[in-house]
């Protein structure tokens, strides 16, 4: 008997499921919008957010005009970080060019530079940086310091030979040896793509989820749907299931783009990543259906999405490091599903981490998915009561 009831039940939910699937299939625009925007977004995000600091435009004022000063200039040119944009006659001219935005940095070698070098005094030069972009300027200053240090190392050799006879306080040198793990080529797109992956899954889920729900309302067919002898949970499940299947294929699409365009590695279990991705899709659909229960039309649902989606994606650490957020804001990322998914995606794809390191992120995603889908199923029934 019980078995029999179960069978009918499963048939009913099956027919609801098929109805949704047919509706989606008829909507060609939806299918296109599932494939095209995410692909483009992933590519643009990966390419456009590039923090690399190379080929900075350097303006030079060489008042000394000697072999020693030219050595300094060529040391800057040899590094890939700077290229000479122009020479200027005075530091005023250089300053004007810098403030007009024609240069990123300026190098001023004073007229007594060569003389000071001959006398083996410390010769001073000035290095100006347009620090409006503090990130670039900070990295550029580091490059300049390294170039000067290398220059000193080279010219220090004969100097230290001179004083070699007096072994003063003999103390060693201290250096750091740096190993860059997981991304030795410093490929910046890897960070962005793994972060944007979660943003795409959640945002697309929410947009498409809310559109599908509101459509019934707009067309006035929601009453009919609610009159079918099925509990609300079943209707919502049937409504969500086909969207869920469709959106889950986006995970493969996005991973394929990441692999082909950005050579994204996959060092951990892809099955685990896929599981986390499907949870992320569920969270997105949950947000979308929740918003849909508050709105009468598609555009209203979309406009409401503006209150939820930008904060969710900006405050997730998907595009910028969480450590760079204000300190009081950092704990809130724990309440953000995108943030958990980025941690999982980066852990699996780049760090080769497994369940033992990522279990609590997964648990959090499960929690969000269950809570959001549950709330929207409850709201769905309530809105007609």
């Amino acid at each position: 008997m019980n078995n029999f009831i179960n069978k009918i039940r499963s048939q009913r939910i099956w027919s609801l499921f098929m109805k949704e699937l047919r509706q989606i299939k008829a909507d060609k625009k939806l299918v296109v919008s599932l494939i095209l925007p995410p692909t483009l977004q992933l590519i643009i995000f990966g390419f456009a957010l590039n923090p690399e600091v190379t080929n900075l435009r350097l303006g030079v004022v060489d008042e000394s005009r000697a072999a020693a000063s030219r050595e300094v200039v060529s040391a800057f040119v040899e590094s890939r970080s700077f290229r000479i944009a122009d020479y200027y006659r005075s530091s005023e001219e250089l300053g004007q060019a810098l403030s007009a935005g024609k240069l990123d940095a300026g190098l001023i070698i004073p007229s007594d530079f060569a003389k000071q070098r001959e006398r083996r005094e410390t010769a001073r030069i000035q290095f100006l940086l347009d620090a409006v972009n503090s990130n670039t300027a900070g990295i550029a200053a580091g490059y300049a310091a390294r170039i000067i240090a290398a220059l000193n190392e080279r010219s220090a050799q004969p100097l230290s030979l001179d004083v070699a006879g007096t072994p003063s306080s003999v103390r060693g040198r201290l250096v750091t040896r740096v190993a860059l793990l997981f991304n030795p080529g410093l490929e910046s797109a890897w960070f962005i793509v793994t972060g944007v992956l979660g943003v795409l899954l959640v945002l697309n889920g929410s947009i498409i989820g809310s559109a599908a729900m509101v459509k019934e309302k707009e067309a006035g067919t929601i009453e009919q749907l609610l009159m079918t002898p099925a509990p609300a949970a079943e209707i919502v499940t049937a409504k969500i299931a086909p969207l869920f299947v469709l959106l889950s294929t986006q995970i493969f699409l996005a991973l394929g783009v990441g692999r082909l365009v950005f050579a994204l590695p996959a060092r951990g279990s892809l099955l685990l990543l896929f599981t986390a991705g499907t949870l992320c899709v569920l969270v997105g659909i949950g947000i979308g259906t929740f918003l849909a229960t508050f709105s009468k039309s598609q555009q209203q649902a979309q406009l409401m999405g503006f209150f939820v989606n930008p904060p969710l994606s900006m405050l997730s650490g998907a595009m910028t490091p969480i450590e760079a957020m204000p300190e009081w804001m950092q704990p809130f990322t724990l309440l953000n599903p995108i943030s958990h998914f980025s941690a999982i995606a980066r852990g699996i794809l780049l760090r080769g981490a497994g369940v033992d390191a990522l279990w609590w992120h997964l648990l959090a995603l499960i929690g969000f998915a269950v809570a959001l889908v549950g709330i929207s199923a409850w709201r769905f029934r309530k809105q007609l009561g």
Partner: protein, 373 residues
Amino acid sequence: MKRIIAQTRKELTQTFRDRLTVLLALVLPLILLMLLGTALSFSVKGIAVVVQDFDRTPLSRQYIDALNASLTFRVVALPTNRRPDEILAAEQARAVVVIPENFERDFLRGRLSETQWLIDAVDANTANVMRGQAAALTSAFAAQLNPAADGQSAQPAVKAEMRMWYNPGGSSRKFIGPGAFAVALALFPPLLAALALSREGEQKTILQVYVSSISAHEFLLGKIAAFFIISLAEWALALAISIPLFGFKIAGDPTPLIVGTVLYLFCNVCFGVMVGVSIPNQAAAIQAVASVQFLLSFLLSGFIFPVSNIPAGIRWISAFVPARYFIEITRDAFVRGGGWPAVWDAPLMLALVSSVFFLKAWLRMRQMQIDAD
């Protein structure tokens, strides 16, 4: 002219009747501005670092203290029996510093002693910053121990005086602030304009316009004027918030900012009108404006990283992104202060881009009107 004003008044009344729209028009830009301004930053502080000290001498402990004293790093206590790559994979720290045995002994005997830094480079930019900081910190530490080495015996041949212009504190708010100001204004004015026009298309009220005596340019200008007024209000509100939030000050000549603002707001509204005329479906119009304006203003405008970093294959798109020109203007007006010589071309480009948008919308309207005849 009278017809334009009538159209503007009608549009303003209609807009202010819908509460969600008013909220959207006046509150959302401010929320977005604050979000962009506070959350988007690359100046990392307090990065968790695990130190594995195999030396356990006064010198190694001094080194750890120096690490802890820096703003960039924060030492986290973890047992030393775990492998560094495991610690990094579990995200318990962003770097592991290994101080080898005989660290102090080697140093005191005049040999080369080294600390090993294993850095999690998943975030390439932060890894780059950490690498630089690690080197700077170590050499400062060595110089402190070895005053003779830095002072007399091994005088550096060349010493560079670094000057950070316009932003000596290296605060990223001065960079992000003017950009956030532009991006926050890029989304909502065109969104409202697009909604208003696609609503006419969706509800077929546009047919009444076709049969009335109003001409295409009058109709469009009336709509544009209405949303231009709303966007001016948004601009004023956003500026009022930005002054305390980012410490905006007018640096130098304010006229480029004024001219640039008028053109930028006009350009954005024109874009919205163009989309609205072309897509007679409100939901689709919202999607189009949101994805194009927001994505492009956010990614291809030089807001976060310089436009020159974008590969040439997609860099050309940024020529059509109004925010790109306005960000040049705001950065100059609020931070650099170069005035007209620095940014003369940006307003020109804005005018050019807006006329392209307007022309497109106008041609579309005209074409429809002939059809309706």
